[in-house]
Symmetry: C2
Subunit: 232 residues, 2 copies
Amino acid sequence: MHYAVCGTGMVGRTLAEKLVSLGHEVVIGTRDPEATLARTEPDRFGGPPFAEWHQARPQIRLAPFAEAAALGGTLVNATSGSRSLPALVAAGAENMAGKVLIDVANPLDFSRGMPPGLDPVGDDSLGEQIQRSFPGTRVVKTLNTMNCRVMVDPGRVPGEHNVFVSGDDTEAKKQVTGLLMSFGWPPSAIIDLGDLSTARGVEMLLPLWLRLAGAVGHTDFNFHIQGAHSQA
Amino acid sequence: MHYAVCGTGMVGRTLAEKLVSLGHEVVIGTRDPEATLARTEPDRFGGPPFAEWHQARPQIRLAPFAEAAALGGTLVNATSGSRSLPALVAAGAENMAGKVLIDVANPLDFSRGMPPGLDPVGDDSLGEQIQRSFPGTRVVKTLNTMNCRVMVDPGRVPGEHNVFVSGDDTEAKKQVTGLLMSFGWPPSAIIDLGDLSTARGVEMLLPLWLRLAGAVGHTDFNFHIQGAHSQA
Protein backbone atom coordinates (compact mmCIF):
# COMPACT_ATOMS: atom_id res chain seq x y z
CA MET A 1 0.00 0.00 0.00
CA HIS A 2 1.13 3.53 -0.73
CA TYR A 3 0.38 6.04 2.02
CA ALA A 4 0.48 9.81 1.80
CA VAL A 5 1.01 11.33 5.23
CA CYS A 6 0.17 15.04 5.35
CA GLY A 7 2.18 16.79 8.05
CA THR A 8 5.85 16.87 8.95
CA GLY A 9 5.54 17.13 12.74
CA MET A 10 6.06 14.42 15.33
CA VAL A 11 2.73 12.73 14.56
CA GLY A 12 3.34 12.57 10.81
CA ARG A 13 6.91 11.38 11.27
CA THR A 14 5.94 8.69 13.76
CA LEU A 15 3.15 7.34 11.56
CA ALA A 16 5.33 7.50 8.43
CA GLU A 17 8.10 5.56 10.11
CA LYS A 18 5.70 2.91 11.39
CA LEU A 19 4.12 2.50 7.95
CA VAL A 20 7.56 2.08 6.37
CA SER A 21 8.50 -0.49 8.99
CA LEU A 22 5.41 -2.46 7.96
CA GLY A 23 6.57 -2.51 4.35
CA HIS A 24 4.40 0.27 2.98
CA GLU A 25 5.59 2.98 0.62
CA VAL A 26 5.22 6.40 2.22
CA VAL A 27 5.29 9.92 0.89
CA ILE A 28 5.07 12.83 3.31
CA GLY A 29 3.16 15.85 2.08
CA THR A 30 4.07 19.40 3.04
CA ARG A 31 3.27 22.84 1.69
CA ASP A 32 6.76 23.61 0.43
CA PRO A 33 9.35 20.82 0.62
CA GLU A 34 12.27 23.21 0.22
CA ALA A 35 11.08 25.35 3.10
CA THR A 36 10.45 22.26 5.25
CA LEU A 37 13.97 20.98 4.58
CA ALA A 38 15.53 24.42 5.15
CA ARG A 39 14.24 24.66 8.74
CA THR A 40 17.04 24.26 11.25
CA GLU A 41 15.24 24.99 14.52
CA PRO A 42 13.79 22.13 16.63
CA ASP A 43 10.06 21.55 16.15
CA ARG A 44 7.39 22.75 18.57
CA PHE A 45 7.94 19.80 20.90
CA GLY A 46 11.71 19.89 20.85
CA GLY A 47 12.14 17.23 18.18
CA PRO A 48 14.91 17.52 15.59
CA PRO A 49 14.39 19.63 12.47
CA PHE A 50 12.65 17.68 9.70
CA ALA A 51 15.73 17.56 7.48
CA GLU A 52 17.77 15.88 10.19
CA TRP A 53 15.03 13.29 10.76
CA HIS A 54 14.59 12.78 7.02
CA GLN A 55 18.27 12.26 6.32
CA ALA A 56 18.16 9.01 8.29
CA ARG A 57 15.04 7.86 6.41
CA PRO A 58 15.79 8.44 2.72
CA GLN A 59 13.18 5.90 1.61
CA ILE A 60 10.44 8.32 2.72
CA ARG A 61 9.75 10.79 -0.04
CA LEU A 62 8.86 14.41 0.71
CA ALA A 63 6.54 16.13 -1.77
CA PRO A 64 4.10 19.04 -2.02
CA PHE A 65 0.64 18.19 -0.67
CA ALA A 66 -0.91 17.73 -4.13
CA GLU A 67 1.81 15.42 -5.42
CA ALA A 68 1.77 13.40 -2.19
CA ALA A 69 -2.02 13.04 -2.29
CA ALA A 70 -1.90 11.93 -5.93
CA LEU A 71 0.72 9.27 -5.10
CA GLY A 72 -0.99 7.95 -1.98
CA GLY A 73 -3.62 5.25 -2.23
CA THR A 74 -4.58 6.05 1.35
CA LEU A 75 -4.18 9.45 2.98
CA VAL A 76 -3.34 10.35 6.55
CA ASN A 77 -4.09 13.80 7.94
CA ALA A 78 -1.43 14.46 10.55
CA THR A 79 -1.28 18.22 10.19
CA SER A 80 -2.07 20.47 13.14
CA GLY A 81 -5.82 20.93 13.33
CA SER A 82 -5.89 24.62 12.50
CA ARG A 83 -3.95 23.94 9.29
CA SER A 84 -5.73 20.76 8.22
CA LEU A 85 -8.33 22.26 5.89
CA PRO A 86 -5.90 24.54 4.03
CA ALA A 87 -3.44 21.64 3.71
CA LEU A 88 -6.11 19.36 2.25
CA VAL A 89 -7.33 22.11 -0.09
CA ALA A 90 -3.74 22.32 -1.32
CA ALA A 91 -3.70 18.53 -1.67
CA GLY A 92 -6.67 18.89 -4.01
CA ALA A 93 -10.04 17.15 -3.98
CA GLU A 94 -9.23 15.50 -7.32
CA ASN A 95 -6.15 13.83 -5.79
CA MET A 96 -8.16 12.57 -2.82
CA ALA A 97 -11.28 11.41 -4.67
CA GLY A 98 -12.48 7.93 -3.72
CA LYS A 99 -9.62 7.44 -1.27
CA VAL A 100 -9.70 6.73 2.44
CA LEU A 101 -8.44 9.64 4.55
CA ILE A 102 -7.40 8.73 8.08
CA ASP A 103 -7.83 11.84 10.20
CA VAL A 104 -5.73 11.75 13.35
CA ALA A 105 -5.68 15.53 13.90
CA ASN A 106 -7.27 17.55 16.68
CA PRO A 107 -8.69 21.05 16.22
CA LEU A 108 -6.62 22.54 19.03
CA ASP A 109 -7.01 26.28 19.25
CA PHE A 110 -3.94 27.99 20.69
CA SER A 111 -5.24 31.47 19.87
CA ARG A 112 -6.31 32.12 23.46
CA GLY A 113 -3.21 30.77 25.12
CA MET A 114 -2.59 27.59 27.11
CA PRO A 115 -4.16 25.20 27.61
CA PRO A 116 -5.56 25.23 24.07
CA GLY A 117 -9.29 25.10 23.46
CA LEU A 118 -11.03 23.36 20.56
CA ASP A 119 -12.40 24.96 17.40
CA PRO A 120 -14.82 23.63 16.23
CA VAL A 121 -16.32 22.13 19.37
CA GLY A 122 -19.77 20.90 20.36
CA ASP A 123 -22.00 20.73 17.30
CA ASP A 124 -19.22 20.06 14.79
CA SER A 125 -15.81 18.44 14.54
CA LEU A 126 -12.71 18.69 12.39
CA GLY A 127 -13.43 15.23 11.02
CA GLU A 128 -16.87 16.33 9.82
CA GLN A 129 -15.49 19.58 8.42
CA ILE A 130 -13.03 17.59 6.33
CA GLN A 131 -15.76 15.19 5.18
CA ARG A 132 -18.05 18.07 4.16
CA SER A 133 -15.20 19.80 2.32
CA PHE A 134 -14.24 16.60 0.45
CA PRO A 135 -17.44 14.60 -0.05
CA GLY A 136 -15.71 12.30 -2.54
CA THR A 137 -13.15 11.20 0.09
CA ARG A 138 -13.94 8.64 2.78
CA VAL A 139 -12.92 10.15 6.11
CA VAL A 140 -12.21 7.92 9.11
CA LYS A 141 -11.38 9.57 12.41
CA THR A 142 -9.12 7.52 14.67
CA LEU A 143 -6.01 7.58 16.88
CA ASN A 144 -6.45 11.25 17.84
CA THR A 145 -6.97 10.45 21.52
CA MET A 146 -3.40 9.52 22.44
CA ASN A 147 0.26 10.43 22.06
CA CYS A 148 1.66 9.45 18.66
CA ARG A 149 4.11 6.93 20.15
CA VAL A 150 1.16 5.08 21.65
CA MET A 151 -0.69 5.20 18.29
CA VAL A 152 1.91 3.00 16.62
CA ASP A 153 2.96 1.00 19.69
CA PRO A 154 -0.01 0.37 21.98
CA GLY A 155 2.19 -1.86 24.16
CA ARG A 156 3.88 1.31 25.49
CA VAL A 157 0.86 1.53 27.79
CA PRO A 158 0.60 -1.72 29.75
CA GLY A 159 -2.83 -3.29 30.11
CA GLU A 160 -6.01 -2.87 28.13
CA HIS A 161 -6.86 0.45 26.50
CA ASN A 162 -8.83 1.58 23.51
CA VAL A 163 -8.70 3.23 20.13
CA PHE A 164 -11.88 4.67 18.63
CA VAL A 165 -13.01 4.62 15.01
CA SER A 166 -15.60 7.03 13.56
CA GLY A 167 -16.74 7.24 9.96
CA ASP A 168 -19.65 7.11 7.55
CA ASP A 169 -18.15 4.46 5.23
CA THR A 170 -18.17 0.90 6.56
CA GLU A 171 -15.59 -0.40 4.09
CA ALA A 172 -13.25 2.46 4.90
CA LYS A 173 -13.56 1.74 8.62
CA LYS A 174 -12.82 -1.92 7.95
CA GLN A 175 -9.63 -0.97 6.09
CA VAL A 176 -8.55 1.35 8.91
CA THR A 177 -9.31 -1.31 11.52
CA GLY A 178 -6.96 -3.64 9.63
CA LEU A 179 -4.25 -0.98 9.71
CA LEU A 180 -4.76 -0.48 13.45
CA MET A 181 -4.36 -4.22 13.98
CA SER A 182 -1.11 -4.12 12.02
CA PHE A 183 0.02 -1.38 14.43
CA GLY A 184 -0.51 -3.85 17.28
CA TRP A 185 -4.04 -2.98 18.39
CA PRO A 186 -5.95 -6.12 19.41
CA PRO A 187 -9.42 -6.29 17.82
CA SER A 188 -11.04 -6.08 21.26
CA ALA A 189 -9.36 -2.70 21.81
CA ILE A 190 -10.88 -1.12 18.70
CA ILE A 191 -14.26 0.53 19.35
CA ASP A 192 -16.36 1.50 16.34
CA LEU A 193 -18.38 4.44 17.64
CA GLY A 194 -20.55 4.75 14.56
CA ASP A 195 -20.87 7.56 12.03
CA LEU A 196 -18.51 10.48 11.66
CA SER A 197 -20.51 12.74 13.98
CA THR A 198 -19.00 10.66 16.79
CA ALA A 199 -15.72 12.44 15.96
CA ARG A 200 -17.10 15.26 18.13
CA GLY A 201 -16.87 13.04 21.18
CA VAL A 202 -13.33 11.84 20.56
CA GLU A 203 -12.03 15.31 19.68
CA MET A 204 -13.55 16.54 22.95
CA LEU A 205 -11.33 14.09 24.84
CA LEU A 206 -8.33 16.30 24.15
CA PRO A 207 -8.89 18.92 26.85
CA LEU A 208 -8.97 16.14 29.47
CA TRP A 209 -6.02 14.39 27.81
CA LEU A 210 -3.96 17.58 28.10
CA ARG A 211 -4.86 18.05 31.77
CA LEU A 212 -4.10 14.40 32.50
CA ALA A 213 -0.70 14.73 30.87
CA GLY A 214 -0.05 17.57 33.29
CA ALA A 215 -1.46 15.69 36.29
CA VAL A 216 0.36 12.37 35.69
CA GLY A 217 3.55 13.91 34.32
CA HIS A 218 3.97 11.78 31.19
CA THR A 219 2.12 10.88 27.97
CA ASP A 220 2.28 7.07 28.06
CA PHE A 221 -1.34 6.74 29.13
CA ASN A 222 -4.51 6.12 27.22
CA PHE A 223 -8.27 6.00 27.62
CA HIS A 224 -9.77 2.65 28.45
CA ILE A 225 -13.49 2.06 28.51
CA GLN A 226 -13.82 -0.36 31.39
CA GLY A 227 -16.87 -2.57 31.11
CA ALA A 228 -17.50 -1.89 27.42
CA HIS A 229 -17.33 -5.59 26.62
CA SER A 230 -18.87 -7.03 29.77
CA GLN A 231 -22.43 -7.13 28.41
CA ALA A 232 -21.96 -6.18 24.75
CA MET B 1 -22.98 14.90 58.14
CA HIS B 2 -26.06 16.60 56.74
CA TYR B 3 -26.29 16.64 52.96
CA ALA B 4 -28.61 18.70 50.81
CA VAL B 5 -29.10 17.06 47.41
CA CYS B 6 -30.59 19.43 44.84
CA GLY B 7 -32.52 17.52 42.19
CA THR B 8 -35.24 14.87 42.34
CA GLY B 9 -34.25 12.80 39.28
CA MET B 10 -32.47 9.46 39.15
CA VAL B 11 -29.08 11.00 39.99
CA GLY B 12 -30.34 12.89 43.02
CA ARG B 13 -32.31 9.91 44.29
CA THR B 14 -29.42 7.51 43.86
CA LEU B 15 -26.98 9.79 45.67
CA ALA B 16 -29.49 10.55 48.43
CA GLU B 17 -30.15 6.86 49.04
CA LYS B 18 -26.44 6.08 49.17
CA LEU B 19 -25.77 8.92 51.61
CA VAL B 20 -28.58 7.69 53.87
CA SER B 21 -27.21 4.15 53.73
CA LEU B 22 -23.90 5.55 54.98
CA GLY B 23 -25.62 7.08 57.99
CA HIS B 24 -25.85 10.68 56.78
CA GLU B 25 -28.89 12.88 57.13
CA VAL B 26 -30.23 13.91 53.74
CA VAL B 27 -32.64 16.55 52.56
CA ILE B 28 -33.58 16.69 48.90
CA GLY B 29 -34.13 20.16 47.47
CA THR B 30 -36.69 20.92 44.79
CA ARG B 31 -38.40 24.04 43.48
CA ASP B 32 -41.86 23.20 44.78
CA PRO B 33 -42.19 20.10 46.98
CA GLU B 34 -45.96 19.91 46.52
CA ALA B 35 -45.62 19.93 42.73
CA THR B 36 -42.84 17.33 42.90
CA LEU B 37 -44.99 15.04 45.04
CA ALA B 38 -48.06 15.60 42.87
CA ARG B 39 -46.41 14.23 39.72
CA THR B 40 -47.76 10.82 38.79
CA GLU B 41 -45.99 10.21 35.47
CA PRO B 42 -42.72 8.24 35.31
CA ASP B 43 -39.59 10.39 35.17
CA ARG B 44 -37.62 11.08 31.97
CA PHE B 45 -35.80 7.75 32.16
CA GLY B 46 -38.82 5.65 33.03
CA GLY B 47 -38.21 5.64 36.79
CA PRO B 48 -41.14 5.81 39.20
CA PRO B 49 -42.69 9.17 40.09
CA PHE B 50 -40.84 10.88 42.94
CA ALA B 51 -43.70 10.42 45.42
CA GLU B 52 -43.67 6.65 44.91
CA TRP B 53 -39.90 6.52 45.42
CA HIS B 54 -40.15 8.84 48.43
CA GLN B 55 -42.88 6.87 50.18
CA ALA B 56 -40.44 4.01 50.67
CA ARG B 57 -37.79 6.37 52.06
CA PRO B 58 -39.54 8.55 54.63
CA GLN B 59 -36.29 9.40 56.41
CA ILE B 60 -35.29 11.57 53.41
CA ARG B 61 -36.83 14.98 53.78
CA LEU B 62 -38.06 16.96 50.75
CA ALA B 63 -37.83 20.74 50.99
CA PRO B 64 -37.69 23.85 48.80
CA PHE B 65 -34.17 24.55 47.49
CA ALA B 66 -33.52 27.35 49.99
CA GLU B 67 -34.61 25.37 53.02
CA ALA B 68 -32.65 22.32 51.85
CA ALA B 69 -29.50 24.39 51.26
CA ALA B 70 -29.80 26.00 54.68
CA LEU B 71 -30.11 22.58 56.35
CA GLY B 72 -27.29 20.93 54.44
CA GLY B 73 -23.71 21.17 55.68
CA THR B 74 -22.58 19.93 52.28
CA LEU B 75 -24.51 20.47 49.04
CA VAL B 76 -24.82 18.23 46.01
CA ASN B 77 -25.93 19.63 42.65
CA ALA B 78 -27.76 16.79 40.92
CA THR B 79 -30.14 18.92 38.90
CA SER B 80 -30.13 18.72 35.11
CA GLY B 81 -27.46 21.02 33.76
CA SER B 82 -29.74 23.53 32.08
CA ARG B 83 -31.61 24.03 35.37
CA SER B 84 -28.63 24.07 37.73
CA LEU B 85 -28.01 27.81 37.92
CA PRO B 86 -31.69 28.75 38.47
CA ALA B 87 -31.98 26.00 41.09
CA LEU B 88 -28.92 27.26 42.95
CA VAL B 89 -30.11 30.86 42.72
CA ALA B 90 -33.32 29.65 44.35
CA ALA B 91 -31.22 27.86 46.97
CA GLY B 92 -29.68 31.23 47.81
CA ALA B 93 -26.03 32.25 48.05
CA GLU B 94 -26.50 33.00 51.76
CA ASN B 95 -27.56 29.39 52.42
CA MET B 96 -24.57 28.03 50.49
CA ALA B 97 -21.90 30.37 51.85
CA GLY B 98 -18.71 28.65 53.01
CA LYS B 99 -20.10 25.22 52.19
CA VAL B 100 -18.76 22.58 49.84
CA LEU B 101 -20.93 22.07 46.75
CA ILE B 102 -20.37 18.78 44.92
CA ASP B 103 -21.35 19.37 41.30
CA VAL B 104 -22.19 16.13 39.50
CA ALA B 105 -24.29 17.75 36.75
CA ASN B 106 -23.56 18.01 33.04
CA PRO B 107 -24.60 20.96 30.88
CA LEU B 108 -26.41 18.79 28.34
CA ASP B 109 -28.23 20.84 25.76
CA PHE B 110 -31.28 19.06 24.35
CA SER B 111 -32.50 22.15 22.50
CA ARG B 112 -31.20 20.89 19.17
CA GLY B 113 -32.46 17.32 19.50
CA MET B 114 -30.60 14.09 20.13
CA PRO B 115 -27.84 13.40 20.87
CA PRO B 116 -27.61 16.44 23.15
CA GLY B 117 -24.78 18.94 22.80
CA LEU B 118 -23.10 20.83 25.63
CA ASP B 119 -23.70 24.42 26.70
CA PRO B 120 -21.34 25.84 27.81
CA VAL B 121 -18.55 23.99 26.04
CA GLY B 122 -14.91 24.74 25.24
CA ASP B 123 -13.82 27.83 27.12
CA ASP B 124 -16.16 27.43 30.05
CA SER B 125 -17.94 24.75 32.06
CA LEU B 126 -21.01 24.43 34.24
CA GLY B 127 -18.76 23.87 37.24
CA GLU B 128 -16.99 27.19 36.64
CA GLN B 129 -20.29 28.98 35.99
CA ILE B 130 -21.54 27.80 39.38
CA GLN B 131 -18.30 28.83 41.08
CA ARG B 132 -18.43 32.31 39.50
CA SER B 133 -22.08 32.71 40.49
CA PHE B 134 -21.40 31.63 44.09
CA PRO B 135 -17.87 32.75 44.93
CA GLY B 136 -18.48 32.09 48.64
CA THR B 137 -19.19 28.40 47.98
CA ARG B 138 -16.46 25.82 47.39
CA VAL B 139 -17.35 23.95 44.20
CA VAL B 140 -15.90 20.51 43.51
CA LYS B 141 -16.74 18.84 40.21
CA THR B 142 -16.79 15.05 40.33
CA LEU B 143 -18.74 11.89 39.40
CA ASN B 144 -20.30 13.50 36.29
CA THR B 145 -18.55 11.08 33.90
CA MET B 146 -20.58 7.96 34.65
CA ASN B 147 -24.05 6.54 35.23
CA CYS B 148 -25.39 7.33 38.71
CA ARG B 149 -25.48 3.66 39.73
CA VAL B 150 -21.75 3.47 39.08
CA MET B 151 -21.17 6.70 41.05
CA VAL B 152 -22.31 5.07 44.29
CA ASP B 153 -21.25 1.49 43.50
CA PRO B 154 -18.03 1.45 41.47
CA GLY B 155 -17.94 -2.35 41.75
CA ARG B 156 -20.78 -2.49 39.18
CA VAL B 157 -18.02 -2.04 36.61
CA PRO B 158 -15.47 -4.83 37.11
CA GLY B 159 -11.79 -3.90 36.99
CA GLU B 160 -10.03 -0.59 37.46
CA HIS B 161 -11.67 2.66 36.43
CA ASN B 162 -11.49 6.26 37.50
CA VAL B 163 -13.34 9.14 39.02
CA PHE B 164 -12.04 12.68 38.50
CA VAL B 165 -11.99 15.57 40.95
CA SER B 166 -11.71 19.24 39.94
CA GLY B 167 -11.79 22.24 42.22
CA ASP B 168 -10.01 25.36 43.42
CA ASP B 169 -10.19 24.52 47.13
CA THR B 170 -7.80 21.84 48.35
CA GLU B 171 -9.64 21.21 51.63
CA ALA B 172 -12.94 20.83 49.79
CA LYS B 173 -11.38 18.32 47.39
CA LYS B 174 -10.01 16.39 50.35
CA GLN B 175 -13.47 16.20 51.91
CA VAL B 176 -15.01 15.06 48.61
CA THR B 177 -12.25 12.47 48.13
CA GLY B 178 -13.18 11.04 51.54
CA LEU B 179 -16.81 10.84 50.48
CA LEU B 180 -15.83 9.05 47.25
CA MET B 181 -13.85 6.54 49.27
CA SER B 182 -16.90 5.93 51.45
CA PHE B 183 -18.80 5.21 48.21
CA GLY B 184 -16.28 2.44 47.48
CA TRP B 185 -13.78 4.25 45.28
CA PRO B 186 -10.24 3.09 46.03
CA PRO B 187 -7.79 5.99 46.51
CA SER B 188 -5.86 4.89 43.41
CA ALA B 189 -8.99 5.37 41.28
CA ILE B 190 -9.45 9.01 42.27
CA ILE B 191 -7.62 11.42 39.96
CA ASP B 192 -7.26 15.03 41.12
CA LEU B 193 -7.08 16.95 37.83
CA GLY B 194 -6.29 20.29 39.43
CA ASP B 195 -8.27 23.52 39.51
CA LEU B 196 -11.89 23.92 38.52
CA SER B 197 -11.10 24.83 34.92
CA THR B 198 -10.41 21.12 34.46
CA ALA B 199 -14.18 20.66 34.76
CA ARG B 200 -14.24 21.60 31.05
CA GLY B 201 -12.41 18.40 30.20
CA VAL B 202 -14.62 16.09 32.25
CA GLU B 203 -17.84 17.71 31.07
CA MET B 204 -16.60 17.23 27.50
CA LEU B 205 -16.47 13.46 28.13
CA LEU B 206 -20.25 13.32 27.99
CA PRO B 207 -20.70 13.32 24.21
CA LEU B 208 -18.41 10.29 23.95
CA TRP B 209 -20.10 8.68 26.97
CA LEU B 210 -23.48 9.00 25.27
CA ARG B 211 -22.18 7.49 22.02
CA LEU B 212 -20.49 4.68 23.92
CA ALA B 213 -23.73 3.89 25.74
CA GLY B 214 -25.31 3.48 22.32
CA ALA B 215 -22.40 1.46 20.92
CA VAL B 216 -22.04 -0.95 23.85
CA GLY B 217 -25.75 -1.15 24.68
CA HIS B 218 -25.59 -0.57 28.43
CA THR B 219 -24.37 2.01 30.96
CA ASP B 220 -22.27 -0.13 33.30
CA PHE B 221 -19.01 1.12 31.86
CA ASN B 222 -16.62 3.84 32.92
CA PHE B 223 -13.53 5.70 31.80
CA HIS B 224 -10.22 4.30 32.92
CA ILE B 225 -6.95 6.11 32.36
CA GLN B 226 -4.62 3.24 31.63
CA GLY B 227 -1.01 4.02 32.48
CA ALA B 228 -1.81 7.02 34.67
CA HIS B 229 0.03 5.47 37.60
CA SER B 230 2.83 3.67 35.81
CA GLN B 231 5.31 6.55 36.04
CA ALA B 232 3.51 9.01 38.29
